[in-house]
Amino acid sequence: MTSTLDPTGETDETSENGESTAEAPEYPMPRARGCPFDPPPELRDLQREGPLTRVRLWDGSTPWLVTRYADQRAVLSDRRVSADMTHPSYPRQAPGGNATLSFIGMDDPEHARLRRMVGSAFAVKRVEAMRPMVRRIVDGAVDDLLDGPNPADLVEGFALPVPSLVICELLDVPYADHGFFQSNSKTIINRDTTPAQRDEAFRRLAEYLGGLVASKVENPGDDLLSRLARKVGSGELTIRQATETAVLLLIAGHETTANMIALGTLLLLRHPDQLALLRDSDDPTVATRAVEEMLRYLTITHGGRRRVALEDMEIAGRRVRAGEGLVLPNEIANRDPEAFPDPDRLDITREARHHVAFGFGVHQCLGQPLARLELEVVYRTLYRRAPGLRLATDFENIPFKHDGFVYGVYELPVAW
């Protein structure tokens, strides 16, 4: 019997045929019990053994897994790979459904055209001008948390409201509807959702946001939905394209940041020395750096970036053929010792900005300046105003989102 891997870590030729792909490990892999902040140990082993290996997905397909930092950056910025979710060989995260995630699942030039229509709203200096608004929202959310019952669930009571209020302000979506869009977003990003449920959640969000866009075609304001509405008015976007973009911005705008707030807080509570360093410093660059290190360490987008090779190409010295799928788990690249010395140590003072927690290549997160701003303000505010913040349950009882496309905690009972 032929092994997929020889001792030097090179995959042998038999992996080109069906024989050794039968041995491909299943992906995604589980995290180790008791190590909820660390990537699955099997991913670590695969990264150590070699740069490229076959894995088996839920549908039986066997795309290549790319584990190392430098290789992931090279692949994700290579124009010969596609992010087209409608490509027949695209390694899908979950069974079908008709929903599309706007430009996330497209290639240039259409991807660039659609992305650039909303790009200016997330430009670094434009986002920086939103700092007073973000500060006001965070201060208000801390007030609400501390004035409410103690203990409380930090997810519902703080982590979800902050980014939801910010994205509502940016899009001019009524925050009163947060229950509606948060629950539909949750359905969409849960890995175990059925295709029918996911389509239905998309349909509801699209109907809701499409209605808001349509009303702004008539009465535009200064917000981002109005910007999309103007593009509909000028014929550059169809109402459907504008709506899909709006759905993407709304989901991406609150789910990811909420998870970084709640999971990040739990991480710091488990590393009291790092929490003290962050809380007790008057130097604003300490929080700026901490944000990058926590993004690297947690890499909550743990679904593995998905691509398809459009041409025969070489990746890490191995030949990948046109039409083969590629899966790139960013959480293991962010623990690559070649890129981050002592990668499993949380060190909020390290230089970590080159992490790939936001992905890499043309699809790298558009909203990253806003995410950074929100996290910086939260991390600088919450722990100072609630210096006695602590877990209100045993660590072992905390439910982690092992089943989500985005990692985090379902709830985080805290007291102060």
């Binding site: 992305r115 200016s120 997330f122 430009a123 200096k125 434009r126 900005r353 890499f360 290549g361």
Partner: protein, 66 residues
Amino acid sequence: MKITVDQDKCCGAGSCVLAAPDVFDQRDEDGVVVLLDPEPAEHLRAAVREAADVCPTAAIALTERD
């Protein structure tokens, strides 16, 4: 050091502005990179090298020539 940027490659992620705000900015209409200073002073160069390294689309090219 001489910097060139490729606006067609740029995806507007803003990493360069974060690293070196005195050297890079973004267009008002779409967030695409704008080069403010193609020949930055010595004290800005480490930040510019970082900007080029973290650019997700390799849209920043540097020529070191001093």
